[in-house]
């Protein structure tokens, strides 16, 4: 794994196990020519190749953070067509990029936890009013996504100007319902799992986009618990963070949407301040602790439409 002049070894290179740090050169049967070697201490299969040579331990540690490490050559070439412009919202893992030939702006995301198959599916089957997935590239450390750049204001930014009217909140919620309907009625439904103000974008034309599939997962009716408890505090439904006897489902997104509606109208969560009027009845059902009591996306869309017509 690295050239270490401090270690006394027969070979020029001191090979160190990437998992446990044991020196491989001195393990019985080790030969550099083998191409790979299973560490006798921990069993980890180390690649023995020029690409695994590092000048220093620090260089190796730095490579652990390199988001582009281990990309296939075609992917590295494809990604180099996008020039980094600036980080989005001060984040190192979300970058505004420009395509070198077309000049079109895109968003590059460097994801460390992800469900790759969801992005691959959405690339081929785009969902209306979600950023189109342009490229999906997997390296050793990260999944690199290039997606459509949607210009506008998130609900967070909009709330900085003041709370929204009930009418506007209902309109936005209806748009999200339509998007969720599409996600939830796919052959294998996709659960978004992170509906919250910063993930809803309003374009200058007033269109509503749902962003960020980083925490999304395929719905599995057989699961009684989520493998990873992911989501955002207060917006995540109880079952999404380990309470109850079921795993996340489409109803988990409805819970978050209910919370979002309350926050849009009052600026606060229901615990602090409930939205007033007929909308509260709808929100209350959305955020039922029991997932089965909540609306489906279609039912919620109908309920919101009924309120609009009054």
């Amino acid at each position: 794994m690295l050239i270490n002049p401090e270690v006394d070894a027969e070979d020029d290179v001191a090979w160190i196990c990437d998992q446990c740090g044991a020196m491989l050169n001195i393990q019985e049967g080790f030969r550099q020519q083998r191409g790979e070697w299973a560490c006798t201490e921990c069993g980890f299969v180390n690649k023995i190749a020029q690409s695994e040579l590092y000048q220093t331990e620090d260089e190796f540690q730095a490579s652990v953070h390199d988001p582009y490490k281990g990309l296939a050559d075609d992917d590295a070439l494809a990604l180099s067509m996008y020039l980094d412009l600036e980080n989005v919202a001060g984040r190192e893992d979300i970058v505004l990029v420009k395509h070198r030939e077309s000049g079109i702006l895109y968003v590059k995301k460097l994801l460390r936890t992800y469900e790759k198959s969801i992005y691959e599916y959405l690339k081929i089957h785009p969902v209306a009013y979600m950023p189109e997935i342009i490229g999906v590239y997997e390296g050793s450390n990260c999944l690199v996504i290039i997606e459509e750049c949607i210009a506008g204001k998130t609900i967070v930014e909009r709330l900085d100007e003041g709370t929204l009217t009930i009418d506007d909140s209902v309109r936005i919620a209806k748009s999200i319902c339509s998007i969720l309907q599409e996600l939830h009625t796919l052959p294998t439904p996709i659960i978004h799992r992170d509906i919250k103000p910063s993930n809803v974008m309003i374009t200058p034309d007033g269109e509503v986009f749902l962003l960020d599939m980083n925490v999304a997962k395929w719905y599995d009716p057989k699961k009684t618990d989520d493998t990873n408890y992911l989501g955002t505090p207060h917006f995540a439904a109880p079952e999404q963070v380990g309470y109850g006897l079921k795993a996340s489902s489409a109803k988990s997104d409805i819970y978050a949407l209910g919370m979002l509606m309350n926050v849009m109208i009052t600026g606060k969560f229901p615990k602090e301040e409930k939205a007033e009027g007929k909308i509260w009845g709808i929100i209350e059902r959305c955020i039922s602790l029991n997932a089965e009591d909540r609306y489906t996306a279609e039912e919620l869309l109908q309920a919101l439409t009924a309120i609009e017509e009054v």
Binding site: Q50, T56, D58, E59, D66, D73, A76, L83
Partner: protein, 152 residues
Amino acid sequence: MQKKPTTELNNILGKAKPDQLDQYFKENKKYMADPQKGFYYYMKDVLCEKNIKLKDAYSFAGFTESYGGQILRMEKPTKDRDKIIRLCIAGHFSWDETNRALKLYGMNELYAKNERDACIIVAINNRIYDMSEIDEMLMQRGFQKLTEDEKK
């Protein structure tokens, strides 16, 4: 690298009177967003993170310490993009770190549609940092090699 936060500089500047501006620039020169210093500090930061010594980087790139230092500090600006690429390869930069360095120096980033650049991207992507191996890759495809025959 040393940084004074921009907010602190703004606070100082906000209280400065016109005749104090010269003094302000003199005292805070090293913190100013000098585009030249951007390249220097970036190269140093990346090499420091990888714990690769500057003198080793110069040597692997085929520069004397004196000339290497002049390139790094942009005291002797070069229009030879290959010199910057060599320095990055010698420092074991990844392809995106190389691109950032080139951009900071005011040069075009590695471009996949340029076949020679594409070879370099692929070499770096596979962590081939042996200059002679990269030269051979380039020459086999009829491209100019990265290294020079004469020493600087």
